[in-house]
Symmetry: C2
């Protein structure tokens, strides 16, 4: 079978099963060294206990022509974006990003000045959010790609995808859809007044990982969270799958920037529901915890739906009249 | 400037300087979380203290057409080899490999059965040497590539590239050159009797990381070590560069398998001095420590040279008559 026939998530699920079946002994050996695995494949980051810390480990890759077009994003923003995406995965667990290792797959012709500029973008993330680049690997490759692997840590518990419970409210930080709006603007060569254009481009190229906010959420008792990278509905369905619950989203409650609505008056909601690369936090918690959350954070926390018992992984987006809305998939990474 | 003009090591050196200059604050922030960086860019793995552990972090990538030809190595051995190369980096520091995250850059047409088989090869390494695969990322890519990132740990100190001192002896574990012999056999389509052919192929496709041996070396006081991936002379020059010393190798003392010598009677020494991908340990230590080392290990420890004060990074390979030998570079990763 070809990868495009099975698809990304089918392949990941197949590999996760294989790993689970064959690696019990291996995990026990790691456990003997005092490192007890908490979370393997299937969350934003892997996690293990090394008392008093819980340590986190994640990675993210961007391939030219698949995840970015260099002439459009530019080297510096590419560096920012891949680091920010990684930092966002650690944030989603409630952790502090620590050490990064960068792998560069470069063509012979790749510009050295460009790579230096990309590193400046990466270092800007570390400068703003902590952590350091501590190593890497440079390899020759016919296709340009960049992989960042990142460790993180936290004391105490972590937020996971599997802790959503029926009765929880579903909320997101910030606003959604602007990153996807920025992508559409670029791909379709659209023009907007400068405030709109900068907002959309900034959202798409320079996402801001919600590290401090996620730590606060964890501290006030939020147990279920992830970051939104594949799109709100898609990502909520991952939480629901991992937690064995069903989710409902009330489309009119999904927070969007007025600038996004100005740019795409008819499509802004689709972009917010399915666009992806928002790198905002998606969380579920009981009403009382959610109230605390919206008071504690310096960014808006919008309750947009609820968790119910039902079909695991199923998410329905309802319009104001209570009709289910179709949410198109973004499909960055979809094979075939 | 293009990458091919600056070269791999020039680029790494440039990026290391940039990171050192710009990331002091970032490293301090990580330090505030209780993780004190010991080693950043420039050794086999990054290392930081998280008492009582020293934690290690490394990565390795293999790109189709650059580092492997799938039809030659086969999926399972590819999985073994990339994991073994990573494990060898952690071994070189005296550490225990713990958790791996795998990034797969896949074409639409890539075979799912092949990937499953590659994972079996990876899991075989974890099964034999400990550790576990805990996560990953699957991305679409026009060029097939596999990246493994690996954490490790050790209690107490680590072995580094910067601890070689004048007067130290230089030694290697096992025998060298067979992996490069295997590569040449494949590339040139050579035929040998089956014992020779299997030895060379096994050396090239299924290297054995010297994890237990490295831990013993560390425990008996060896301070300077790395694993041989780019070739003996090239890698010794990295130790000498990092330590500010010069190295001498006595070519006739370099250990080689009789099977390699049978296959390449005139070229075996070149393969052993410059071939690479041996994944044996290269270490330097005073005479007394080296004596203990050769008694303590279950594989041969061959003293092949010495460290002198002189030009930092310079390594001379001498033949029996004391003449300097030219050692050709392997150039896997060399751009241009």
């Amino acid at each position: 079978m070809k990868v495009k026939e099975l698809g990304e998530f089918g392949l990941i699920s197949l590999l996760a099963k294989l790993v689970a079946k064959e690696s019990q002994t291996a995990a026990e050996i790691a456990g003997d060294a005092g490192f007890r695995l908490l979370l393997g494949i299937g969350d934003d980051a892997a996690a293990w206990r090394n008392p008093p810390s819980t340590e986190l480990f994640t990675t993210d890759t961007m391939v030219e022509g698949v995840h970015f077009v260099l002439e459009r994003i530019g080297w510096r923003d590419l560096g920012w974006k891949i680091m920010a995406a990684n930092y966002s995965d650690i944030a989603a667990m409630g952790g502090t990003p620590l050490y990064s290792i960068i792998t560069l797959g470069l063509r012979d012709e790749t510009s050295v000045e460009g790579i230096v500029d990309m590193y400046r973008g990466m270092l800007a993330v570390a400068g703003e959010y902590g952590g350091a680049i501590v190593g890497g690997d440079v390899v020759r490759s016919p296709t340009l790609f960049v992989t960042a692997a990142l460790t993180g840590a936290t004391e105490g518990g972590i937020m996971t995808r599997s802790a959503a419970r029926p009765g929880d409210q579903v909320a997101v930080t910030g606003s959604l859809g602007s990153s996807a709006g920025g992508l559409r603007m670029i791909l379709q060569g659209l023009s907007f007044r400068s405030e709109v254009a900068s907002h959309l481009l900034e959202a798409h190229h320079r996402p801001r990982p919600r590290i401090a906010q996620a730590r606060i959420l964890k501290d006030i008792g939020v147990l279920a969270a992830m970051d939104i990278s594949d799109g709100l509905v898609d990502d909520l369905s991952k939480i629901c799958q991992a937690s064995g619950v069903e989710g409902v989203v009330h489309a009119e409650k999904v927070p969007m920037s007025p600038l996004l609505e100005e740019a795409f008056p008819t499509d802004s909601l689709s972009l917010a529901l399915g666009g992806g690369e928002d790198y905002e936090l998606l969380l579920t918690a009981p009403d009382a915890t959610m109230k605390k959350a919206s008071h504690a954070l310096d960014v808006p926390v919008s309750v947009i739906g609820e968790i119910i018992s039902g079909e695991p992984g199923r998410v329905t987006a309802l319009d104001k009249e209570g009709h289910a809305k179709h949410v198109p998939k973004r499909g960055w990474n979809h094979f075939g």
